[in-house]
Symmetry: D2
Amino acid sequence: MDYYYAPGRNHLFVPGPVNIPEPVLRAMNRNNEDYRSPAIPAFTKTLLEDVKRIFKTTSGTTFLIPTTGTGAWESALTNTLSPRDRIISFEIGQFSLLWIDQMQRLNFDVDVVSSEWGRGANLDVLSAKLAQDKEHKVKAVCIVHNETATGVTNNLAAVRRVLDDCGHPALLLVDGVSSICALDFRMDEWGVDVALTGSQKALSMPTGMGIICASPKAMEAAKSAKSLRVFFDWNDYLKFYKLGTFWPYTPSIQLLYGLRAALDLLFEEGLNNVFARHARLGRATRLAVEAWGLKNCSQREEWYSDTVTAVIIPPYINSADIVKRAWNRYNMSLGLGLNKVAGKAFRIGHLGNVNELQLLGCLSGVEMILKDVGYPVKLGSGVAAAAAYLQHSIPLFASRV
Amino acid sequence: MDYYYAPGRNHLFVPGPVNIPEPVLRAMNRNNEDYRSPAIPAFTKTLLEDVKRIFKTTSGTTFLIPTTGTGAWESALTNTLSPRDRIISFEIGQFSLLWIDQMQRLNFDVDVVSSEWGRGANLDVLSAKLAQDKEHKVKAVCIVHNETATGVTNNLAAVRRVLDDCGHPALLLVDGVSSICALDFRMDEWGVDVALTGSQKALSMPTGMGIICASPKAMEAAKSAKSLRVFFDWNDYLKFYKLGTFWPYTPSIQLLYGLRAALDLLFEEGLNNVFARHARLGRATRLAVEAWGLKNCSQREEWYSDTVTAVIIPPYINSADIVKRAWNRYNMSLGLGLNKVAGKAFRIGHLGNVNELQLLGCLSGVEMILKDVGYPVKLGSGVAAAAAYLQHSIPLFASRV
Amino acid sequence: MDYYYAPGRNHLFVPGPVNIPEPVLRAMNRNNEDYRSPAIPAFTKTLLEDVKRIFKTTSGTTFLIPTTGTGAWESALTNTLSPRDRIISFEIGQFSLLWIDQMQRLNFDVDVVSSEWGRGANLDVLSAKLAQDKEHKVKAVCIVHNETATGVTNNLAAVRRVLDDCGHPALLLVDGVSSICALDFRMDEWGVDVALTGSQKALSMPTGMGIICASPKAMEAAKSAKSLRVFFDWNDYLKFYKLGTFWPYTPSIQLLYGLRAALDLLFEEGLNNVFARHARLGRATRLAVEAWGLKNCSQREEWYSDTVTAVIIPPYINSADIVKRAWNRYNMSLGLGLNKVAGKAFRIGHLGNVNELQLLGCLSGVEMILKDVGYPVKLGSGVAAAAAYLQHSIPLFASRV
Amino acid sequence: MDYYYAPGRNHLFVPGPVNIPEPVLRAMNRNNEDYRSPAIPAFTKTLLEDVKRIFKTTSGTTFLIPTTGTGAWESALTNTLSPRDRIISFEIGQFSLLWIDQMQRLNFDVDVVSSEWGRGANLDVLSAKLAQDKEHKVKAVCIVHNETATGVTNNLAAVRRVLDDCGHPALLLVDGVSSICALDFRMDEWGVDVALTGSQKALSMPTGMGIICASPKAMEAAKSAKSLRVFFDWNDYLKFYKLGTFWPYTPSIQLLYGLRAALDLLFEEGLNNVFARHARLGRATRLAVEAWGLKNCSQREEWYSDTVTAVIIPPYINSADIVKRAWNRYNMSLGLGLNKVAGKAFRIGHLGNVNELQLLGCLSGVEMILKDVGYPVKLGSGVAAAAAYLQHSIPLFASRV
């Protein structure tokens, strides 16, 4: 049974959950297994090891927690910090805002650095605050790598430099939910202490697995962190890692096999090729937006996201109508504008297991919808702009030549 | 394991096998079952009944044979005709040619009426031949409803009129492989005696089931037809229909459930809506071809196919390069030109469970490929032409408004 | 890829995760969908309503949280209680122990009532404690309905009576992880305030969904409970229920469809028939254990579990060898003895979507293994005892007669 | 949707179609693909090569035809023989009878050598007939390796010896439908000219693929054979083999991937281990039958089949009642007695991807059913006899120790 059937494939262009490739679906099409047999621990061990590659870390410790991104956030905070610890965090859009809300409700003392939505994290303010914090009361800097609501990517290398320049020991906790496996992510090089993502984003799996990586420094912090936690407690995981049984409670067997398949696809394509593909998709989308005469919510090229583009529309159009129209006429799913940009923006997710012709199909649909809702766009203009770029940048598939 | 993996969805635009919708894949994801239990016969009975709707027949007898379209052809011929029987058939492209080849090798006496490829069946010649055949030596007229190689649809109502005008009793055997479930097909109204299709075409299933419908007149002929046959023998099926066990040999349980799901989707969308969708997709494709300055292999509007478009390209381009390029750069599958139009045409299949944005993605890819291979197309031009039409013709999904 | 392949079906007889029926696997075999489209909220609404039937409640509020049973425990505690609140809980086996450990680590004041493992909750002690608690300092009584480690089922109606007899207002929080959908569970009748289970138990789904039901009294408590929580916060869910979008964060689309299929199967079989089937399987297992001359860890008939049987073996055998042997010779998965009964007991899970012949296959395997490891069992004896009972108690399938 | 749902797994013990292992189901869970792309021919090539191993041939030519066993029979006959050619064939049960019926209807001159059902092919008669045939009018000897109706396995090495002893050049055509991939089959060693099986038998796939292997001598015969054929014509396949495109018409993409997975499983287990497993299952079944005091339809040990056992029951019981009872009470599927043994025998299929505990579950069910229908069996007796043997013969899984 499906709700509200429509013919042909659903064009899923929300910035998560994203399209699941067939090999992942196939891998997950299986009965449950006893997770206490010798098989699942041996399998888990290879996953915990291989998943480090998506973080570009060799020193990190990885956790595969049966939860969502929101749970992964909670895991990162409660395992490394104690009640009333001071955090600096950046509000640049809806998801950074939700994380800050979580920090506050979990009883941390959050110093919020806000930017206009559409701009990146204000690192000058960070720099100033850290410089002032001679006593190192700030225990953590929390930042969203890619703000999914506005299509803004923060510069993590720059954040690291600010911390280093101040010689500040605060932990660096990073939400990589809509970046990891799509944008280059260098945990060790950037000195990230906790990085996290969710299975339903660029890994292109179903929702249900929080993938978390902790640096040695974060692991050290976890020993003394006083935040209450049981379900999310890394120490329980560590206990079972040592026992070699790996799981403090029942994992989803299906998601483990799904992760194996998802990693295999990423490694087969090559992570750098995956990043290049996302760069192409992002740029193609922006060229279409420009051709339509519309504005990217992300204000500057340095912040442009290659995984999601939030498109600002004229005030006489409600972006919710665009999303609704996509759904009830073209079997396409676009992202709504959220909170401060509700009604003002719609979002095109271009992350995960998706290719150029899928995107062009989406863009051709957006053009029709824009006309449907009264925006004077020239049909074909965005597609033409995107295609002119793609035609010169898509490589041949090495394996198929 | 996949051969030659490429990221994102494969854009499958060959005129069969076509995209399988998820509900059909789901229905087929199952273990084998005992086909002699009470369940499978009861299930089969509903399928044999419901499948009549795709032929628009109430008087026909249906067969679901574990074979392909080629086997379905053989079934139609050997069950209704005897060795050396005279057949009139039309050669208008590769598939009609292959069927004629089969007729000849099965020892029928075939009177071939050839047309230039790109033109439909010459009904004037048919009329003349039937008029001359006072002794009714012609036992069957065999015609391909939609020639997949050239994108030509024959007018079956007109064929019927010719037969009726001559008062000729020949059987009318129709290959509906690339038409049934996509183009309107009226078995009873048009007096078709045997109609057939394959599961991998507009039914949008895997290959492996030949769906055949025989009129009472064809069933009568089957009683006396002397062509040797066992595997394809309808009489064996009839014997088991009477017993209520329905199967002379083992059917594919998975395809039975797949057929159920496929029929349910067609009926949920509504057959007339399905035909209208194919009409939209066909016209949109032709508008793009026109915008590119290229020619439809199908020479006249009366013959335009709404399930496949064969596009003639300039002599300085080899159409095989276009198909290859689609595959090794864009993860798209287009149809080759076959036999007389090899190298000269490529084919876009737009049948089965596919929608407008999928087609526009395909058209945007074709534009890039045309440029890649040196044809001076304006990027976006075909998409714009197709979208301009589609924007005014796609209806809202009734269920989603 | 599978780890350590063995031919034929794996005989999965651990008390969770359990066998997933094909209709559930099929329902879950699907791409992601936009959970903010109109479809998913409409779908969720029916699920939240229908899932009440498995709790036998009309007044409860249901939550489908992307977590495991451990997370569901945490959700129950943190939403209804405040730090240092007093809880009475029963330690009767490993899972009740783990829940108590969670309570303590979440900073509640737990009054632990221990029983010898193999016995049920000591309700006399409960009665005494509640009677003494004139000031109603005890805020909650927490009990595991069915202790999976020992195969002991507690009598929830009796617990309710104790509370009522004392006129005590404490909340009654119940772990129904290995009971709900297998043993009769009457939330409203028994005055349960929070009941919870996990998808991979008697619902026969993959792991990943905590299913929680809260009484009006529990919902009232949730308004003032001061335990820190975000991911597990019911109030966030309520906010989105009111908005009609239902999800504070991304659910697993696949598990939602899986739940639909799982509920449909339970309702088609009939919940009372499901309970009767589990009663048959439980009794058949116990008859086999008796025939083998072995002891049930559960000491009295009143506590016998119909979902899992822990079998005590002679001291000269290590039960881990039985479990290992099952796996490396018979492709069968049995449960280990845990903690206090490690080495001393092995467990047969007989819950979820499983039938009598599957169980008899399992029992025949256990007989061989017992001989393998040196226990002098008569082959066929347990199967005969179980079959003698089953032969007279299995009903015909109503639909198949 | 399922017809007549019953809880737990269906116990599928008909001698085909058999249980499909999950890796095969997973491999087949996929969209259609363009079979004219470079991928499918490359993939097909490896399949045509690897499938030779199941025939133990290096010199044979293999065909994967979208049909059933009945179609594979027709393919074997029509490609190697001409109308009125003389065939010697053996009637020893329903399937050999059906093949003979096909031979006759295809206009061959069949010399039928009948045995009492329950006995193997009478090779003395064969020997005498061949010795008399000085002019070599007999063009083929056709034999069913394993007669599925009676559970009789013929000795192919002995057949070869008879042919060799007479120096007779007749082709040896073998139906290996219920033997190949379960019983040792040595095409080259035994000088088999055409061997064939169907995908739904010991390969443990869905129905729909006829797997055929032809010796060089058979291939030579195919050049001159005058039987009419198109769909089944090997020469059409050969033409496409030479072109490197491999398919004269559309194959089932799903079955190709399913075959890959099925072969991989067989090779991973090891063909000799597969044969040994079937030998164990066959013997265990026969020991149970003996313990029940019932007779094997197969009259002598030399003919006992390790893939199917037909059990003769006392005249006061109708075997159809046993099969019905299995289905409507135990969710088990057993084989009916066919034709001459209708009502007198029921059949237990023990072939394909099945293991010992599955069989013991089946046997325990049969015991209950026998009592249900009034046969005085001691419950547990058959299981005990089978288990006593299995306990000493099942090996540990090498990979799991």
